[in-house]
Assembly symmetry: C2
Homo-oligomer: 145 residues x 2
Amino acid sequence: MRRQMVISSELAERLRQRGWRLTAQRRVVADVLVGDHVHLSAEAVHSAAQAVLPEISMATVYNTLNELVNMGEVLEISAGPGPKRYDPNTTVAHQHLLCTGCGALRDVAPEGADALTLPSDQRHGFQVVGLDIMFRGLCPACTGT
Amino acid sequence: MRRQMVISSELAERLRQRGWRLTAQRRVVADVLVGDHVHLSAEAVHSAAQAVLPEISMATVYNTLNELVNMGEVLEISAGPGPKRYDPNTTVAHQHLLCTGCGALRDVAPEGADALTLPSDQRHGFQVVGLDIMFRGLCPACTGT
DNA sequence: GTATATGCAAAGCATTTGCATTAAA
DNA sequence: TTTAATGCAAATGCTTTGCATATAC
């Protein structure tokens, strides 16, 4: 059994070294975004951040999330209706499984993902950079029995 | 050489037989949504529809698109920023290639897509129904030489 | 001290909704 | 004739932006 050690601002500190101006707000947002199967909406990040720093604004949360996405430290996921979600799991390649009933989202590692390629006659002259896979289904709670 | 024959309402007529109340507006929207590599925004559908039926409203376009999506006759694609797009190609299984520069979207048939599965220990109890694959890259125009 | 981030409030865009009118069946 | 679709305009939800103030460096 290992307890979760709160290493405040592991990510934030790393970004500071890259020249990121480290504010209390940014540190809190970075601290919220840790772990697997974490797919928080901006709203959820804001709530969690407010628990620590009550005066943090939505605008700052959005600004910070967009910076983290542009820096490649957080993934942005648009799935189904509702707001975008933010996924801090960038170190391990993974895909997603979405419940079309309730929107629940899980990280998954499908089999055969490496073998998946786009033949050159299918590339339409594009320079292909990456791919995202979204499995759709119903979670246990939404399956009805 | 084969000229495109305008078969007015092929889709619309089929849906009428399924009990869809066939109005001029719905017929026009259905007529706009034909072909491969067709990924129109609601706005674009509205413009194209207005060329034929000037009085058609955005609300009706959205209503109709949502019905077609719910009937499984049109696919809804959320990719990157900007509005959703609508893809009438539902008969042939296919995936998408997105230009992250300009948003251009192409239908593709990747290799190895059939071999792609989610092992049961990765399903988190979900009943898996399908999957979407989005290749990301830069189109010829956005590659900069 | 200076450049940059913050908070607020307002604006923006995409989409949905309520309701009286119109049209399909 | 009846039931459902339309158009309009207002409302919604999410996200971005402008600007004066505050803060990291």
